[in-house]
């Protein structure tokens, strides 16, 4: 029930103790709980380099040319967080069609942050996931979340 700014203030320290990166059955590595997390709890910020949206095309092409996996999260129509070369553990959160977390763009003291919150109580050892909400596209990316209500494709 505390204001967002207060909840955010301690997040960088607390998130290091509450989550960690491990091997995932969904894809490569994932983010896992190191302790029980309550429903609605602010878990971690999706941190990285804040860039203008007009820079994403060129960056994506560069990463593709070097076979570097691209980790970008759109804040709004103008700004994007690029966690490919600079970021935190949140970049490893995998997609699930039945997620246990959700993302929100929150304005704190005039700056926008992408924050991950728990949708429900998450037990120690569970992998954290959220719905990537990729736009519909003709070329499909298969989903490997393995959930009962899996939509088969990320997009």
């Amino acid at each position: 029930n505390l204001p967002m700014a207060m909840r955010f203030r301690n997040l960088k320290e607390t998130s290091k103790q509450s989550v960690g990166v491990y091997h995932s059955h969904i894809h490569g590595r994932g983010l896992f709980c190191l302790r029980d997390i309550e429903s609605g709890e602010m878990v971690i910020e999706y941190a990285g380099e804040v860039i203008r949206a007009s820079l994403t095309d060129k960056r994506e092409k560069y990463y593709d040319s070097k076979n570097i996996g691209c980790y970008m999260f759109k804040i709004d129509d103008h700004l994007v967080v690029d966690a490919t070369m600079k970021g935190n553990a949140a970049r490893f959160i995998n997609h699930s069609c039945e997620p246990n977390c959700y993302s929100r763009v929150v304005d704190i003291l005039g700056k926008k942050h992408i924050l991950i919150f728990a949708l429900r109580r998450i037990m120690q050892g569970e992998e954290l996931t959220y719905d990537y909400k990729f736009p519909f596209e003709d070329i499909k990316i298969p989903c490997t979340c393995g959930s009962r209500r899996c939509r088969k494709y990320l997009n």
């Binding site: 203008r52 949206a53 007009s54 103008h78």
Partner: protein, 116 residues
């Protein structure tokens, strides 16, 4: 009267009260004029009033679809002349054009379009 447009620009740019001057900061972005041309020969001029160390301009002629959150000359919708080294740009390709320009210089831009 041809002025700098208030609704056809990157919002982070600061346009003067008389709408004849613009100031920017950080990364390249664009402002266009209120009026465009489609045929014939046209010319306009701009003066660089201030150009602090590390800053630069790319000025020229652009079309409606040119990306406002990029420098003029980034895509196929614009042609620009850069202050640094006097390079000309189109589709992000820079080519040598002139020596550099800077504070105190007045620049002229001529365009010749088919009459039909």
């Amino acid at each position: 009267t041809v002025l700098l447009a208030l609704h056809d620009r990157a919002p982070q740019l600061r346009v003067s009260e008389d709408r004849l001057a613009v100031t920017g900061e950080k990364g390249y972005c664009m402002v266009r004029a209120t009026h465009c041309v489609s045929r014939g020969t046209w010319y306009w001029e701009a003066t660089i009033e201030e150009m602090p160390e590390g800053s630069a301009t790319r000025i020229g002629w652009g079309q409606e679809y040119a990306n406002l959150q990029a420098p003029l000359g980034y895509d196929k919708f614009g042609y620009s002349w850069r202050s640094r080294k006097g390079t000309r740009f189109h589709e992000s390709r820079g080519k040598h054009f002139s020596s550099s320009y800077g504070e105190g210089d007045t620049l002229g831009f001529l365009i010749t379009l088919p009459d039909s």
